[in-house]
Amino acid sequence: MTQPFRLPGVGRLDAGKPLAFTFDGKSYTGREGDTLASALLANGVHLVGRSFKYHRPRGFLSAGPEEPNALVGIHRDAARKTPNVRATVQELYDGLAAVSQNRWPSLAFDIGAISDLNAPLFSAGFYYKTFKWPRAAWDRLYEPAIRRAAGLGNAPDKPDPDHYANRFAHCDVLVIGAGPAGLAAALAACETGARVILADEQPVPGGRLRFEADARIEGKSGWDWAEETVARLAARDNVRVLTRTTGFGYYAQNMIGLVERVTDHLANPDPNAPRERLWQVRAKRVVLATGAIERHMVFPDNDRPGIMLASSARTYLNHFGVAVGNRIAVYAAEDSAYAAAIDLKKHGVGIAAIIDSRAAPESPAVEEARALGIDVLAGHAVIGTDGRLRVRRVHVAPISGGPHREFQVDALLTSSGWTPAVHLFSQSRGKLAFDEATQRFLPGLYVQDAVSVGSCNGTFDLASSVNEAFDAGAKVAKEAGFRKPRARQMEASSGTPWSIGMAGASPGVEPGTSKMAFVDFQNDVTAKDIRQAVREGMRSIEHVKRFTTTGMATDQGKTSNLHGLAIASQMLGKPIPEVGLTTFRPPYTPVTFGALVGHSRGRLFEPTRRTPTHDWAKAQGAVFEDVGQWKRARYFPQVGEDMHAAVARESRTVRETAGIFDASTLGKIEVVGPDAARFMELMYTNPWAKLGVGRCRYGIMLREDGFIYDDGVVGRIAEDRFHVTTTTGGAPRVLHHMEDYLQTEFPDLKVWLTSTSEQWAVIAVQGPRSREIIAPFVEGIDISDEAMPHMSVREGRVCGVPARLFRISFTGERGFEINVPADYGLSVWKSIWAEGQKHGACAYGTETMHVLRAEKGFIIVGQETDGTVTPDDAGLSWAIGRKKADFVGIRGLRRPDLVAEGRKQLVGLKTVDPQIVLDEGAQIVADPDQPVPMKMIGHVTSSYWSSNCGRSIALALIENGRARMGERLYVPMPDEMVEAEVTSTIFFDEKGERLHG
């Protein structure tokens, strides 16, 4: 028979077409609207998981997100495997395939359960006390074994084909939780015209009304009222209702993280639908209507499959139409659990007994239970249970002593009371207050613009709850700037009130007992473990938690934290608030990484910046390198060339004829205004005032501490206009640095800064034939050596478009850099390239650029410098304006250790064997025979094979380097000691004749 525990005509699900699903390969059917849990229970399946440490068989504790036990893997396909899914949350869809976890070889027979037999050995904190000998065994033996035993499900092993989305949203009132209180608050707020977002984690709103079948609101059944209210809200323009959406994090200034599960409940989702969507909501006011979570009783062997929270059994019955057993007992310390027995009894399910640990419970519920003929055992405790894979027998005894009794059951419902769900309130950094009378932590001091309503605020009574919420909804809308709606009294009632209950170990689980009474199911923490932790000196609840791991499982202690705290408090003889409450850390329930990542994956992980010639270079077979977010062509290999060969050819070609290089990524800043030169004087070490219009200068920028921050060539376009270039990676920070000084230190200067990095495409043409190559395209500029010497800049036209032409060189050859508006870059490049071909020129990439500049001893900021190098260290003292009274870095430069003897200075390094190319980053020693640790006197900053020099070349920062010219030093490599000689930093054309020749 299919779904034998589904009661005909009971519940709210449509009995139409059944949905097929499998669990551990076995086929079952369920209904539209089922969770995996309700569908399994309809089929009489309780055993769904194994616990973390002892691998004990476990069933469903709850019907919601607080579930500690029923974690399964959901396998949609080979790449869509999700571990640790709560079966009580996962909605059923046709074809769903679920597997149990943390068991081998099977759920019913799990070898790992052997640790259950040895449980006393694995008491709290046992691993701190052993596995220390022999030393090596921890890494090789013990730890791998512990790791294999730990963990729950298996991580996916393939890239996730699903996608995720993000949405920033703003509203006046955000209501979290669409139970009766949340609905009432949203109703009141929306009527004022305020923008309202209402979010609920369930597929259908209603909250407690899911199980409180006897609730009535405004003359209707509670459930009907909820459905109608949601429909009314959703129909309004100013309300957004988000279902399957969990408020998981409450951040500063009323920023709330919500996660919406969009497709996990669908058999065939729209491929364009994101699997989940993150909502980052900024709300003027937040209404927390997050409800309360029922606690279990902490009694011996309280963890067998079939032992379940009372309200959850009621949810399965009243919402899903499922009886969780045929013969059921209830063990409680409060009233609301009676309703479960009453509802089940009314639907013909056998109730073995209600065991109530209170001596003389008084409530209409007690009377009603008795009137229905249910055996109510007040002042009794459950002292044990039997049943390996399902609870089968309950042992009961009077608390005051007396004969034991046994009940044959197939389910046991428990409740010790309700814990207000104050997680989000606490995350908002509100202060909780412990209410002694009701033994609850309740919202106390608010630090953000929020309000709690209903049971999360401790208001358990339904009528009080909806009215409190309605008033609060109206009030916060008014605070958000809207007119308050008319006050209104909502009429509501529910059958069984929620009473106070108890926290901590149940009677019979006193200190000294050897029984396993679980506090935290998933992490297998018992009352005994918590007591042991206290005995070992763990006095803070944080220590207890960390020592025992209570509350640290995937349910984050939703059902267990208060129990743990109560047991510790009893052991310490201190009241609960003095022992403390562990912090509620986000997220409320686990959040998929993908949802937090959203669109930022793959191509959209980060912007990829490409120059105007990128596609051309790619078509030419260029190999690219990442420089910051830019892709730069590194070299252009011809058929059969590796990087070495390509670079050798490119660098020879540049010096023999010419090369064309895309320098577009260089940062560019236009400095404009009558005080432009004064500003440049302050920002760069060099003097600028006398730089003529049309002239260029190499500038060095320091930080205030005197270390090199950036460099680049600066051209003076007009008296009041400089064209500043920066390093590629430095562009944004240099502009920020300049703006900082301009706006805050020198605000009186009349000058403005504008980034023009992307206005200009920059085509460098370098080499003896460079002038001939560009000549046919240049209009309005005399590019003869006389008219346009090295380090000059002119405005004119190139290829018919406006251009800034620089006569500058980073290669030591005659060179030009053509700046044209970026959209023309490709076209101009192609023209130059075609002309260059006639002269035998080549395109070259960053690697050749690096080699050529190293041959000339030019530094690269970030390679020769690392934030600890001064201009003098880099051999650039000449670039400091000696007569200047001020520039950024002037004082930092003069600090004692920056002018001390023995600083590392940039020098050249030639290996004695010219064929050896040193490793960049290799360290240098003076004495090759010393033992480790060796005294290192410097390191290689740049090193290349120079085909132009016919040998390897290197630059290095070496202690007192300039005083060591000609000295032999050593570079110890793993397999050899390389000998090298200190030289000038200039390896090629020492006199610089080629610039003009």
């Binding site: 996608h163 404009v672 200009w760 023309y824």
Partner: protein, 182 residues
């Protein structure tokens, strides 16, 4: 003489039309970054033929020309007719800085019923009409790129970004636009 260089647009051929959203690159325009103290605004406004806005987030538009307030002394001036804005400003004696950024920036037109939702996939500002009315303009972020948002209609935004970020911005708009509607 060699032939005149051809212009290549970074988003050539890219567009998207979906349910309640369409994306299209805007045509070329002249643009300057205009910086000036308050004393110069009258002269600059006169030269440009529109009143440079002085309220935060405001814009002014006349025919093909618009000026967007980006900061207390900063305007983005866009001329879709291709007028030589640099030349216009060069004739103004009053203190200012004008820098040509016609090729630095480009624009994407984002329009349709879902325009706010699509932009809010990666822009954290409140884009409701009440807070970001037609004509409002603001520099802001879109994912990991900086953009300038300018609302040109109830359901239409002009999105400016730097040239090399266009592929990312368009790609992200496209991804958000394709998201199944909720």
């Amino acid at each position: 003489m060699a032939e005149t260089a051809r212009r290549t647009f970074a988003l050539e051929g890219r567009s998207y039309d979906g349910d309640g959203i369409s994306l299209a690159p805007a045509g070329p325009a002249s643009r300057i970054s205009l910086r000036a103290p308050a004393e110069s605004l009258a002269a600059l406004s006169e030269a440009l033929g529109l009143d440079l806005p002085v309220r935060p987030k405001a814009s002014a538009r006349k025919n093909a020309r618009a000026a967007l307030w980006l900061g207390p002394d900063e305007w983005l001036v866009i001329d879709e007719g291709g007028a030589d804005l640099m030349a216009i400003c060069a004739r103004v004696a009053a203190l200012h800085s004008a820098v040509d950024i016609s090729h630095r920036n480009l624009a994407i037109l984002v329009s349709g019923r879902r325009v706010e939702d699509v932009l809010n996939a990666a822009c954290p500002q409140d884009l409701s009409v009440a807070r970001f009315p037609v004509g409002a303009a603001s520099r802001t972020v879109f994912g990991k790129a900086e953009i300038v948002l300018w609302r040109i209609g109830e359901d239409a935004f002009h999105v400016e970004c730097w040239r090399s970020f266009a592929d990312y911005v368009f790609g992200l708009l496209d991804a958000a636009g394709r998201e199944a509607v909720r």
